[in-house]
């Protein structure tokens, strides 16, 4: 018989790790839901990858921060930095990638990509031979190498939705992010996909993805805890004394009645 103690603090302590294992189960169920989501024509075309563990998540968070400073437009800088904090507070990350949008379009002339009744908008702008797209040149000038088949990309929405639905049904908090997906894809997570979205998942008393104060990358709880460690270390050194033989606290007011 085993006793499994579960508590969310301190992070990555055995009680927190036990909780994370529960969340990992939900992440796996989310992937099931993602892979059975309704798709255009029911055509399979998605992959999933689960990232679990402190270091593994840290790698993703750092790439998000690199993107924030070096690549994405200014207006996305702070959202990317904030979401890196949320990633570190997550128990698991589920990545969902679309393998088709950049390589095997729906070829139906729906009109979404270029507003034309054929697929010329995409094929005129990508490297292909008789409609077979050569995606082997993976160099990119933009975050995502476009254009993409938008009808295929639309499918990714269903995949994300089904995963998020299952997260909700299991009362774990989840947040789907462009930032997490982009960072993961740059790290070769879901490497067959050009379009990748990351879903942060956590079981916590406070939803880590809501109520975000300004400059959250500097004001989050991990920073506050670290600040407390930093300050309390200094503070305790100032009013010090030989505690074995001396107690500066007044004798009265200690809660005990003074002996007559």
């Amino acid at each position: 018989m085993a006793r499994i103690h579960i508590d969310e603090l301190p992070p990555y302590s055995p009680p927190d790790q036990a909780k994370k294992e529960n969340v990992l189960i939900v992440a796996k169920l989310m992937v099931n839901a993602a892979l059975t989501a309704p798709l255009t024509g029911g055509v399979p075309g998605h992959e999933a990858e689960i990232v679990y563990g402190q270091k593994e998540i840290e790698h993703v968070a750092r790439e998000m921060e690199r993107l924030a400073h070096k690549q994405v437009p200014k207006k996305l800088k702070k959202p990317f930095l904030y979401e890196a904090v949320m990633a570190r507070e997550s128990d698991v990350i589920v990545f969902l990638g679309n393998k088709r949008a950049h390589e095997t379009p729906m070829d139906v002339g729906c009109g979404l990509c270029g507003g034309e009744p054929d697929c010329s908008f995409v094929y005129d702008r990508v490297n292909h031979f008789n409609g077979l797209i050569d995606a082997t040149d993976r160099s990119r000038e933009t975050a995502i190498k476009g254009p993409l088949c938008v009808l295929r990309a639309h499918d990714l929405g269903y995949v994300i939705g089904s995963a998020m639905w299952i997260a909700g049904k299991h009362f774990v908090d989840a947040k789907s992010c462009y930032s997490v997906g982009l960072a993961g894809r740059n790290l070769d997570i879901c490497m067959k996909s050009e379009l990748v979205v990351g879903i942060l998942i956590a079981a916590a008393s406070k939803n880590p993805y809501a109520d975000i104060p300004p400059n959250y990358h500097l004001t989050n709880m991990a920073k506050q805890i670290d600040a407390l460690r930093k300050i309390s270390t200094i503070t305790r050194q100032i009013p010090n004394h030989p505690y074995h033989t001396f107690d500066p606290a007044p004798k009265t007011g200690s809660g005990k009645k003074k002996e007559e």
Binding site: G114, E116, P117, H154
Partner: protein, 273 residues
């Protein structure tokens, strides 16, 4: 106090489920946080124009015919479920400069769409890819809500495209149809009405066209026989790639016919024209 006809009462309840599905779609988590859902619930004879246009397009395309026949049959049996039309304007960019649409920046994209907005087979474009993904999540939530109510549903591009062309959800660049029902099991998969629409040979031809190698004989000779009959070696058949003027002409005429109907429904022509 009352005794209800159970099946009729259940059928009436589908409208409430459709409303619940819409609430679910509205609560779907999005990536851009900048997408506005549009919706209509179309019932009974208000589906007639949509089905009519769909059936017209179906005269030359199995895809549209497949859905038109199913809807016509439900109409005849008085079992038409409420049809949820979900739509959104997916053209306004998320302003992330991600490049997924094919332009380096959202600014370049915005410049392009000033003069290049247009209509495809069933949607307006160009489109911001992330808006298209968010719209997918919303539709998924609607479908998942229906499943939670143990109600059949199926996201249908065909219904959405015809609705868009007929002027439903003005301002939306993409519309999808989601029938909420009917009562029953797997009716959108196992379509009774489809049983007699295509004959055995037609069904096998669709299968052959979809995967000719499955019926291909030894391919080393360079022009392999396609096994299309029991004694395939006698008077063998081969595959040929060629332009099909007859089909193209039929397609053009068919689309013209469908668009004429759409314009009539839209009131572009006078009744006596």
């Amino acid at each position: 106090m009352a005794i209800y006809n159970g099946l009729d009462a259940a059928h009436e309840h589908l409208l409430d489920v459709a409303k619940a599905c819409l609430l679910a779609a509205g609560k779907a988590p999005t990536l851009t946080h900048r997408i506005k859902l549009m919706a209509e619930i179309v019932t009974d004879e208000d589906m007639d124009p949509i089905i009519d246009v769909l059936a017209t397009l179906g005269e030359n395309s199995a895809f549209q015919l497949h859905d038109a026949v199913a809807l016509q049959s439900l109409q005849k049996q008085n079992k038409m479920p409420p049809i949820l039309l979900l739509g959104a304007d997916l053209m306004k960019p998320a302003l992330w400069d991600c490049g997924a649409c094919g332009f380096k920046t959202c600014g370049e994209y915005l410049k392009y769409i000033q003069t290049n907005k247009g209509l495809g087979v069933g949607c307006y474009g160009p489109t911001c890819v992330w808006k298209a993904i968010d719209f997918g999540t919303m539709c998924d939530y609607a479908a998942a809500c229906s499943a939670q109510h143990h109600v059949e549903s199926r996201i249908m591009f065909s219904i959405g495209a015809c609705s868009l062309l007929l002027g439903h959800l003005e301002g939306a660049t993409m519309v999808l149809g989601l029938p909420i029902g009917p009562l029953g099991k797997n009716l959108w998969f196992d379509r009774e009405a489809w049983k007699e629409t295509l004959n055995f040979d037609q069904k096998m031809m669709v299968q052959l066209a979809g995967g000719p190698t499955n019926q291909m004989a030894f391919s080393g000779g360079g022009n392999p026989i396609i096994k299309s009959k029991p004694d395939w070696w006698d008077n063998p058949t081969f595959m040929k790639v060629e332009q099909d003027e007859t089909f193209i002409e039929r397609d053009v005429n068919n689309k013209a016919k469908a668009y004429e109907k759409i314009m009539r429904y839209q009131g572009v022509f006078d009744e006596d024209e």
